[in-house]
Subunit: 337 residues, 4 copies
Amino acid sequence: MEMIMRAYSNDWVSNSMMYKHGVAKAPTGKVHTLSAEVQGVYNYTIGPYSNPVLEVEPGDTIIAETQDAFEGKIRSESDKPSKLLKVPFLNPQCGPIMVKGAQPGDTICIHIEKMVPRGDQPRGTCCMIPEFGGLTGTNLTATLNDPLPEIVRKIHVDEETVHWSDRVKLPYRPHIGTLSTSPEIDSINSLTPDSHGGNMDLPDMGPGTVTYLPVRVEGARVFIGDAHACQGDGEVCGVAVEYPTFTTFTVNVIKNYDIEWPRLEADDFIMAIGSTRPLEDACRIAYRELIYWLERDFGFERYDAYMMLSQCGKVRLGNFVDPKYTMGAAIPKKYIA
Amino acid sequence: MEMIMRAYSNDWVSNSMMYKHGVAKAPTGKVHTLSAEVQGVYNYTIGPYSNPVLEVEPGDTIIAETQDAFEGKIRSESDKPSKLLKVPFLNPQCGPIMVKGAQPGDTICIHIEKMVPRGDQPRGTCCMIPEFGGLTGTNLTATLNDPLPEIVRKIHVDEETVHWSDRVKLPYRPHIGTLSTSPEIDSINSLTPDSHGGNMDLPDMGPGTVTYLPVRVEGARVFIGDAHACQGDGEVCGVAVEYPTFTTFTVNVIKNYDIEWPRLEADDFIMAIGSTRPLEDACRIAYRELIYWLERDFGFERYDAYMMLSQCGKVRLGNFVDPKYTMGAAIPKKYIA
Amino acid sequence: MEMIMRAYSNDWVSNSMMYKHGVAKAPTGKVHTLSAEVQGVYNYTIGPYSNPVLEVEPGDTIIAETQDAFEGKIRSESDKPSKLLKVPFLNPQCGPIMVKGAQPGDTICIHIEKMVPRGDQPRGTCCMIPEFGGLTGTNLTATLNDPLPEIVRKIHVDEETVHWSDRVKLPYRPHIGTLSTSPEIDSINSLTPDSHGGNMDLPDMGPGTVTYLPVRVEGARVFIGDAHACQGDGEVCGVAVEYPTFTTFTVNVIKNYDIEWPRLEADDFIMAIGSTRPLEDACRIAYRELIYWLERDFGFERYDAYMMLSQCGKVRLGNFVDPKYTMGAAIPKKYIA
Amino acid sequence: MEMIMRAYSNDWVSNSMMYKHGVAKAPTGKVHTLSAEVQGVYNYTIGPYSNPVLEVEPGDTIIAETQDAFEGKIRSESDKPSKLLKVPFLNPQCGPIMVKGAQPGDTICIHIEKMVPRGDQPRGTCCMIPEFGGLTGTNLTATLNDPLPEIVRKIHVDEETVHWSDRVKLPYRPHIGTLSTSPEIDSINSLTPDSHGGNMDLPDMGPGTVTYLPVRVEGARVFIGDAHACQGDGEVCGVAVEYPTFTTFTVNVIKNYDIEWPRLEADDFIMAIGSTRPLEDACRIAYRELIYWLERDFGFERYDAYMMLSQCGKVRLGNFVDPKYTMGAAIPKKYIA
C-alpha cells in the first residue's frame, strides 16, 4: 500500500488519450481567465439551465478562480457551520464553460495542470457538520442519536505542506473534488456525484491527470470546483482541507466516442469511476466500465479482463459521505500496453 | 496511487507491536511443521468445535502446508467448478492451532514471514464460478439472469512471477486470504469474514506484515488458509490466483489487550479491518476502529483523529464478493509516531 | 397480512389534515381540465425550469390526462422496449401546476379522488426492459450477465378488473406512481424519487388518500403522472400495469408547516415516506420522519414513539427498482387519536 | 394497507402443503412437553454441535417453554440492559429437537398452533439497548455519535391485549421471532437470520401458520424461541414485546423436497423469506424464491410469474435491526389455485 498520496507529473500528458484521440493534438496556447468577476454568481446545481460564463476551443487553457466548498463563509474556528451554511447552497462551482464543437456522443477531456492556493492564511478549512460525514447518522442514514459536535479547523496551506497540527504536517496534494459536464435534462446539485461527474472527491483528480467526461448537451457545459489541498480515501468526516485556488486546466474533445461514466488517466494507470449507493454498486459500476474499456480499446476479451482485474485491479475510494458514493477501479498501463 | 502491489519487508517486525507488547519479546526459534499429514482433515468452518492439530508457545513458528481454496480439485482448464465444488466444503483451513496462555480478552499476533509455492505446475488456479463474484447475480444479490460461463484458468506461479497470459505477467505478491481465531460459541464457514478474521482477502496480509486478532476462546484456536499468489483490490471475479503453499508464520500473544476487529501492521502503516454488508458499513467499522486505536494507543483526541483521517486515511478494499465484504482503513506510521 | 390491495374511500377526506389545517376548508368546486392539449409537451424532469401549464387556487380540482409511463409508445406485444424507449425521456409528467399562495416552508396537499382509465383496449402495458428491474443486473447493480429477454404484455384494464391472463384476474386498484413538487434549484428526472416526491410507486397513493409534499419554490409546481392500474409491493419487474387515465385530484396548501419528506394520509393510517439507497436507509428515513410527526403533532414523546412503532408500525415497500428505492412507514390512526 | 395485524386461523392447516406432502397426513396426537427442566441449558447458537433435548416423530406436537429474548434478566424499568446482557448470550433457544426420518434434502414443516403467555405480570419487556436498533448507529453501521439512552418498558400482556401504555392498547398478536433448523457445519448465533431460518422476526410466523425450513443435517435439529406478543414491521427499535410462553407446535417432514430458504404458508397466501444485507438483497432473495416456487409447484412460467408479482406481490419486512435483515415476499393463494 502506498501510504503517502503521490504527486503526478504533467510530462506524460502529450501522450495521453486526450491528445492521441482529441480534436486538438496539443494545447492551443490560448489562456482564458475565469476570475470571480467573470464568473459572477457561482453555481450550486449542475445542468443545462444556467448561463455560460466562457466559451473555449478544444486545446484552450482556463485559469479558474475556485471558491472553497463553503464559499469562504467559514472564517474562524469559532464559526458554526450550521448557522453559516444553507443547503442546497453548498459547493459553489465555476462554469458552465462551453467547449466549441462538443456534441452529445462525444467525450470531454480535462487536463488539470496546476492548482495554486489563493487567499489569506489560514486558507484551509475542515469541519464537522451536524448529520454529515461517514461516521455519523445523516439525513439518509437517519438515526435518533444526538449529532456530533460542530468543530471548525482552520489550516495553513502552502504549495508544499498542509499544516494540520503541531504534530502532523501533510504533503500538499491538491485535487478537484467536483468536475462535471451537464446532464441532458436534469440539473444535479453540486454535492452529488453521478455519471456526469459531479462531486467525486477522488484524490487522484489533481495536477498531472486527465479526466474524461460524457458530453450530453451541445457544448458540454463544464463545471469545476471544490478544491482540496489534500484528502484521505473516503473523506471520512465529510470534509477535506477545503481551500480557494487558481486552478489551471486544458480541455479537449474526442469526437464520436461515448462513455457512460467518468474516466481518469494518469502517467501509469487508467481508471473508470462509478458513483451510487450502496458502495458495492459504485464498485460494480467502476469495474464493469473498466472491463468494457479494456475490451473496446485495448484488445482484451471480456472474461479474461474480468479475471485479470481480479489479480491486478486497484480501487480508490473517493468518498462514502456524499449523497452518492464514488469509487474508481484502475489498472496499470504496464499490463495493457 | 500505487499501481503495482508492493512487497513488504520482514526487517521491521522486531519493532512491531507484536514484540513490543507481546508475551514473547522475540521468536523462540522453535519451528512446528503443520504438514498435510499432521493436519489430517482440513476445516471448512471456523469455531470452537474442531479438534486442535497443534499446540504452540508464544514466539513459536509454524510452517503450514496450505491447500488451495478448491483443495486441489480443479486440475485442468476443462474442469467444471460447479461439478467439482460443493458448498460449504470450500476454502480448506489449517488449524486450529492452540496458543498457550491465550485467553479471552487477549490479542493474538500473527507475523507471516514467508509463503513458498508448492505442488506441480501450473499450480495457480483462477476461475469463474456460476453465481459467484462481483459482477454477477449471486445467491444473495439474487437475479434471474443466466449465470456467466464457467471458465478455468491454470496459471504458472513461481516465486517471482504469476504468468497470467502471454501478454500479462504479474509480480508474485503472496498473501493469506483467510486468517482467523475462533468465535466464542459460533462456528463460521471459511468463506465469510467477520470480527474474528476469516476470509478477508486483503492483499496486504502477506509476508512482512503482522495481523492482530481477538482471542475469544482459551488458546485462541488459530486457522489459516486460502493463499493467493496475487490479488487485485476487491477480488472482482471472486477468485484470486489460488495456490498451495508452505506458509511460515510466528505467533505471539498480547495479554489483557482486547480488540473488537482484526488489525494489521506493516513497516510504514497500521490498519483496522471491518467486514460486513453493505460495503459502506465495512468502511465505517474500519475507520471507527482506527480512530479508537489512535485514541487508545497514540494519544490522539477522537475528533481530531476523525478529521485528520479525512485528510490522510488510506483504504484497501479486500473483497466485495464474499458473503461479507472487507475493507481496511490505514494511516502512515509517520503521522502517529 | 392483507393479501388483496384494498380500495380506499373518499368519505373521510373532509376530516383530513388537508382540510383541518389547509387554506381551503373544503373544495372550492372549481374544476380545471389539464388535457393533453393544455399540457402540450409532457415533462421528463421535475424542477423549477419548465413552463407552468396551469395556475390554481387552494381547494381547486384538476382533471389531468395522464400518459402511461411509456407515453403510449408500446402498442403491441411484439414491440421492443429497447428500441422504442430512450433514456431520459421516460415517465412523462403533467404539470407543473402552480398553486397560488404556496411558498417555501409550506406543505402542499393532494387528494386523489378518482382515476378513470382512458384509451383503446388493451390499454394496460407491462414489460421486461433490459437491465431494469429488481431481479436483474442494472446500470447501477452492474453485472456482466446477459440481460433478461424483452417481453411485452398488453393488458385489458377496466374500472373493476386488470385482466392479467386467462388464469389470473386482478382487482383494479389504481394509484399514481409519480407525484412531485419542485426541488429548489435541482431538476430531477421523473424516474427517481427523493424528498420532493417523485417516482415513489406506492400502491396506497390512489383514490381516497391525501399526499403531503414540501413546497420549495413559489407556487409549489406540482407534477403528476405514471398511473398504475395495480401494482405489487416493490414493483419487482420494474413495471406495473401502466396505463393512461383521467386523474381527478384536489390541491390545498398548509401554510407555515414544513416537512422534509413526503407523507400520506388515508382513512385509518398516516404514513411517512423515504426514498434512497440502500433500502434500509429508505426505511430509516420513513420511520424517523414518522416519529418526528408523532412528536410534533400527536403529543408522543420521541422514544416512546420509537418503541411503540417497534410494536405496531407498518411498512409498505413502494419500489426497489428505481434509481432510489421507496418505503413508507405507517401507524393506525386508532393509536394516535 | 392492513393496519392492525390480523390473527390467523388454524382451521385451514389440514389442507396445507404440510399435510398434503408431509410424511404425517395428520397430527399423531402425541404431545411432548419441552419444559425448562427438560431443556436444561438454552442455546445461543444454532448448529450441529449441541445436545438434542427431544426426539419426535413427524406429526408429533411439542409444547415448549420459551424464555424471553433476555432470558428473564430484565425485571424492572430501572434495570440497565447493558449491565445485564452479555453478547453472544442473547435470545435463548429451545432445542435442538430431532425429527425422526428427516434427512438432508428434505423439508421440515412447523405448524405453530398456540402461544400462551406465562410468568408473572408485567411479563412483557421492551427496551432500547445501546448501539442496537434501526435508528441508531450500531456495531456494524458504526458511528461516533453518543448512544441513545437505555430505557426499559415492562408491559402487561394477556391473551387479548398488550397494554403498551395508558394511551395505547395493542392487540395480542403472538409470533415466534426465531425458528431454525441446523446449518450443515456452521453454528450461527440466535440473533442472526439466514437460509436456515434463525432470527427472522416475521409477525406472520405465529399461530395459524406453517413454516417450512430446509433440512441440512440428520434429524433436522429444530430450534425455537424469541416469542413476541406483538411486533411492528421492521421491529424498528430492535426489540418487540418480548415475553415467555408455552408455545404449541406440530412438526412434519416432506421427503425429497429441498428448499434453499425458509417459506411460510397461511390460510390465504404463501411467502418466501430472504435474510441478508443490504435490505434490497433480502427482497431479491424472497422474490426470486417465490418465483422459483410458483414455477416448480404451481405451473407458472418464470417470467410470467415475475411480471405478475410486479402487480400483486406483497412484502413483509421482518426486521432491519438484526445482523442480517429479513423480508418475506408473498402472493395470495387465490391467484395460484
